[in-house]
């Protein structure tokens, strides 16, 4: 870990302003950033600890939705009675992620911005376009069982590891930010993450050092909420495939996937096929997939997992 200066911000405005310092990064829970700093995958020279700037509440919005502060801890978000009752998919997704200890520390914004778990990204001896642009992708012809099958490129096949974000994708969440100059904006989650293309090191459409202040959930949409995370071990593991589904009485629904793409994967236009069953829906959802030999099984697995979710919750 490289040496850095440290400041404890007191307010969002102070944090946002401090972000213009060169080499600055926000430190929320730290569960991803510190991990990466120890390995010198991230090398900030200044940390702005935003742990105490507030933004740790979940509040109703005028139109019946909820505004989740960026610093709300994953445990508190999952346990919130309103989230549990109306946005069960989000509770379920959060609870399927990481461990109790990590969820106590991890924050909403930090979770959205956590970086890939591609093993080559984690080993600084290996070429990796995401970590050091232009060096090549070790995973393409290497160990790729865990990695993306769709939305990826020849430059990078990493997945986004968040479970929470999959639920937020299905919920059409909106991310609210403030920039160092104080300007705020709202970014729908569907436009938040970038696909890798030739620039896999650019992962979101946030400006450098734009501070996430909250995530807004629109009015509850009802339905049955399911989150099925498939993995080798029963807990404390990232998804091979995860399916976040909101299923409506009329047979329709919304379905987003984790573990298959560089961002939570959802194709709203395909969702009209949900009533036709897993096979038809999944093949549209996964149209254009480009798996490796090692991870081609994910295509079958996606279909199977969706089928399981539909069958269980439709009977």
């Amino acid at each position: 870990m490289k040496s850095f200066t440290y400041e404890r911000a007191e307010t969002p405005a102070q944090a946002a302003a401090a972000a213009s310092k060169p080499g600055a990064k926000f430190l929320a829970g730290g569960t991803n950033l510190l991990d990466l700093m120890k390995l010198q995958i991230e090398t900030p020279t200044h940390l702005i600890d935003i742990g105490r700037i507030g933004l740790d509440k979940i509040e109703p919005t005028p139109d019946g939705g909820l505004r989740i502060g960026a610093l709300v801890r994953n445990t508190d978000l999952a346990a919130d009675l309103r989230i549990r009752a109306d946005y069960g998919i989000l509770s379920r997704a959060l609870l399927a992620g990481a461990s109790g200890q990590l969820r106590n520390k991890a924050t909403t914004a930090g979770n959205l911005l956590q970086r890939t778990r591609c093993p080559y990204f984690y080993d600084t001896n290996q070429p990796c376009n995401k970590r050091s642009p232009g060096s090549g992708c070790s995973a393409l012809a290497g160990f790729s069982r865990q990695l993306a099958v769709i939305g990826c490129s020849d430059a990078c096949i990493a997945t986004h590891p968040s479970d929470m974000a999959v639920a937020m994708m299905a919920l059409d969440a909106v991310i609210e930010t403030v920039k160092p100059d104080g300007k705020t904006r709202q970014i729908p989650i569907s436009g938040f993450y970038r696909l890798p293309g030739k620039t896999p090191h650019l992962e979101t459409n946030l400006d450098k050092n734009e501070l996430i202040t909250s995530v807004v959930l629109p009015t509850p949409v009802g339905g049955i909420h399911v989150y099925h995370k498939v993995r080798d071990r029963a807990s404390y593991a990232f998804a091979l495939v995860s399916v976040g589904a909101i299923l409506f009485k009329d047979g329709g629904g919304r379905i987003a996937l984790g573990g298959v793409a560089p961002r939570p994967w959802r194709v709203p236009s395909a969702e009209k096929l949900i009533p036709k069953g897993a096979k038809e829906f999944a093949s549209r959802l996964m149209e254009g997939a480009r798996p490796t030999k090692e991870n081609a099984f994910k295509l079958t697995l996606v279909q199977g997992t969706i089928e399981g979710a539909l069958t269980e919750n439709r009977s």
Binding site: M1, K2, S3, K38, L39, Q40, R117, P119, Y120, Y122, D123, N125, Q126, S138, A141, G142, F143, R145, H228, V230, R231, D232, R233, A234, S235, Y236, A237, F238, L240, V241, F297, T300, L301, G304, T305, E307, G308, T311, E312
Partner: protein, 733 residues
């Protein structure tokens, strides 16, 4: 004391303390964080500096240059050790690894340099400032690719001969009525013990003391002396508590060498722990095997031919994974063959991991037995029972000292409810879940080795035992204490156990499932001697003196035990050695594993629902700790079955998933309540303790029982471990 004839009745047979489920005597320390592991012995050193290892970025080649300028100038840096300034380093006698690379690189993450600094943070940062230039060379990383180049290895110190042949295997197999010929693989596995390899090294003149984490103190001293080129007498190793080993901390590894060199270079004590992401490629592991098994039987299910071949790879000079060991003794059959082959691989060294050879061998043999039972249309339990043997099938006439494999299988089947299993795969479903049951036999040798101890009696009647035995979680502290208490007729809380210090009398340490039986026998010998001293001190007849309730009595004469030490502590030291009984008898432990799994019908996720193990493993000294050894092994077996694999990147030559997020081991959620049944077994041919080991037996066969249960649930036979959902998916479409 020399043990040459089967033991008669002796004080251990009183079973007042031995054989009773006993809480670990170090429990209050371990549960309160007050037991000190290697890196934590801050109280022993002042002015300690921190070491940090930089691992090689390539798998094979040479270092052409190391630019140290930036690292040297970094804050807090005290010294940098590389091959250039380390002096001549040899290798140890058990591992072939060189613990400091340069100029040659033998494997990925081999230590290239050790940076010493005032703080951990400074050492870690400075290590990353070293600029190392390498010249890459072509390496061999793919066992499948070099399998045909594999050679017959020389006979090894541990493990079976490289080739065995009994009767006419090829002929009998060819003409067998029912045949199986299948090839299986087991992957590279990591010990992944929770405490990383760690050392604090301190020099006083040319004397070196290391607080470290190794399982065999005697090997450690020998190997460190060899590596550093200093006399054994100048080295003292201390490992009071060890955070798990499983064979992965047998003797000296990079941490001990690096800390010793770093402390010498810095002129200060140095503490150093291997960072977790380095451990997988830097230390040792259980190597991958390819195994071919052929079984021939007649229609009634009698095995007529059994053959087991195994291929593994290693660094030049490294050992062979002896995967054929169990097949030599487990089942009957007149015509038999085993063969080991070894190829050269430039991956980190393959070496002992819990039940070396026997664990991976049983992973495959016991699937093969399941497949064979199916071919024969026999129940897998009945098939195994049918092929039980009461004598060494390679040496008819040589009896097993004790063998209750049949009882293990029958008891387990009953307890587990085996009769509810439907032999037709895929026939039981509960909701989304396909249910399957599997069985496997277990076998593991019961080696025993010479072991010494010293016991001291003080005037208050308290005993202190000293031996260099280690406790890696096995319960050594407690059984050693129990042995002394039983022998001297005192309560366990009157015994102080001091272990894990190379200055104590030599034991074989923890490994090979020999630790408990060997070290307690050494304590028995020392206590036996102490009893004699006590009796003569008190003027009692040694043969008749009774030691019990803190008293020594002979007829109506009775003394408090402590009276014998009124004029000063009494000290006795002895060593137990062995005659030929282990040649005369096949000394082995047996067991059976029963597993029920649920496999998701849509996703093929596999979850273990029930586990039952039955073990027949000599006298059980402490049923509580023995049961824990077995459930721990069962847990490791579930890992081996369902998730554990160090994935080799065959282009670069390294284990890619080199941390605990990438290398998955079972978590709480994977492990249901585990039932363990310990069958009564007293084996007088072993030692005066009549005990054997159990910690490795518990692992043998577990993974196959899981794999067989998955087959029973799904009808998909996976022969390449681990059994993961993608391998089932591939075969169901």
């Amino acid at each position: 004391m020399k043990f040459e004839k089967p033991a008669g009745i002796n004080p251990i047979d009183q079973l007042k303390i031995i054989g009773k489920p006993t809480d670990r005597i170090e429990g209050p320390l371990k549960t309160t964080g007050t037991a000190k592991y290697a890196y934590e012995n801050n109280q022993e050193v002042t002015n300690v500096a921190y070491g940090y290892i930089l691992g090689s970025a390539i798998a094979k080649g040479t270092i052409t240059r190391i630019d140290q300028s930036a690292a040297k100038a970094a804050p807090g840096v005290l010294a940098i050790v590389t091959a250039a300034n380390a002096g001549t380093l040899n290798t140890g006698k058990f591992y072939v690894s060189r613990f400091l690379a340069g100029p040659q690189i033998d494997h990925y993450h081999q230590a290239v340099a050790v940076v010493v600094a005032e703080s951990f943070e400074q050492a870690r940062a400075a290590a990353s400032l070293l600029k190392v230039d390498y010249k890459k060379a072509k390496g061999s990383f793919d066992l499948d690719a070099v399998k045909d180049l594999a050679q017959t290895p020389p006979p090894a110190q541990f493990g079976p001969p490289p080739q065995t042949l009994t009767g006419d295997f090829e002929g009998a197999f060819k003409t067998a009525q029912v045949k199986l010929d299948e090839t299986y693989t087991t992957p590279d596995q990591a010990h992944a013990m929770m405490e990383p390899h760690a050392t604090i090294a301190k020099w006083e003149g040319d004397k070196l003391t290391c607080w470290c984490s190794i399982q065999q103190m005697n090997w450690g001293v020998r190997d460190l002396a060899n590596i550093l080129g200093i006399p054994k007498e100048n080295i003292r190793l201390i490992a009071s508590y060890i955070g798990g080993g499983f064979g992965g901390k047998g003797t000296v590894l990079a941490d001990l060498v690096a800390a010793s060199l770093a402390a010498r270079a810095a002129g200060r004590p140095v503490k150093l722990a291997l960072q977790r992401p380095l451990m997988f490629n830097n230390t040792i592991h259980r190597p991958k095997t390819i195994q071919r098994i052929r079984i021939g039987a007649d229609h009634d299910g009698k095995i007529t031919a059994i053959g087991h071949e195994s291929w593994s790879g290693n660094l030049p000079g490294g050992r062979t994974e002896p995967a054929t060991a169990s097949t030599r003794l487990l089942y009957a059959g007149a015509n038999r063959m085993t063969r080991l082959k070894l190829a050269v691989l430039d991956l980190a060294e393959g070496n002992a991991m819990r039940a070396p050879g026997e664990a991976p061998g049983m992973m495959t043999l016991e699937i093969a037995m399941d497949e064979m039972a199916e071919k024969l249309n026999m129940d897998p339990v009945a098939f195994r029972i049918k092929n039980d043997t009461q004598e060494d099938p390679e040496k008819p006439g040589r009896k097993f000292s004790t063998r209750k494999l049949i009882e293990c299988l029958q008891t387990g089947a009953e307890k587990f409810g085996w009769e509810k299993r439907n032999a037709k795969p895929g026939s039981i479903q509960e909701g989304q879940w396909l249910i399957g049951m599997g069985v496997a036999s277990a076998i593991r040798g019961a080696p025993i080795a010479k072991s010494a101890a010293r016991v001291r009696l003080d005037s208050s009647g308290k005993i202190t035992v000293e031996t260099d035995m280690t406790d890696i979680g096995t319960g050594s502290y407690t059984i050693i204490g129990q042995t002394a208490a039983e022998m001297m007729g005192i309560d366990l809380d009157k015994v102080t156990v001091k272990i894990g210090d190379s200055s104590f009398p030599e034991s074989p340490g923890s490994g090979g499932q020999w630790g408990a039986a060997s070290s307690t026998s050494g304590v028995y010998a020392a206590c036996f001697k102490l009893r004699e001293t006590v009796a003569s001190q008190l003027g009692l007849n040694v043969g008749k003196a009774q030691f019990s309730d803190g008293k020594v009595s002979d007829g109506d004469r009775s003394f408090a035990l402590g009276d014998a030490a009124k004029n000063g502590d009494l000290v006795a030291q002895d060593e137990i050695t062995y005659g030929e009984l282990s040649k005369e008898y096949a000394q082995t432990t047996f067991g059976a594993h029963f597993v029920e799994v649920a496999v998701n019908a849509y996703t093929f996720e596999i979850r273990v629902r029930r586990m039952v193990a039955v073990c027949h493993a000599g006298r059980i000294l402490n049923p509580k700790a023995a049961r824990s050894q077995v459930i721990g092994a069962m847990t490791m077996g579930v890992g081996a079955a369902l998730m554990e694999e160090m994935v080799v990147d065959k282009r670069v030559g390294f284990f890619v998933n080199h941390d605990l997020a990438g290398y998955e081991v079972p978590v709480h959620a994977d492990i249901p309540y585990q039932e363990v049944i310990l069958l009564e077994d007293i084996d007088p041919t072993m030692s005066p303790m009549k005990a054997k080991g159990i910690g490795e037996l518990g692992l043998c066969g577990v993974a196959a029982a899981v794999a067989n249960a998955v087959y029973n649930a799904t009808g998909v036979r996976v022969r390449d471990y681990p059994v993961t959902l993608d391998k089932i998916l591939k075969n169901t479409i």
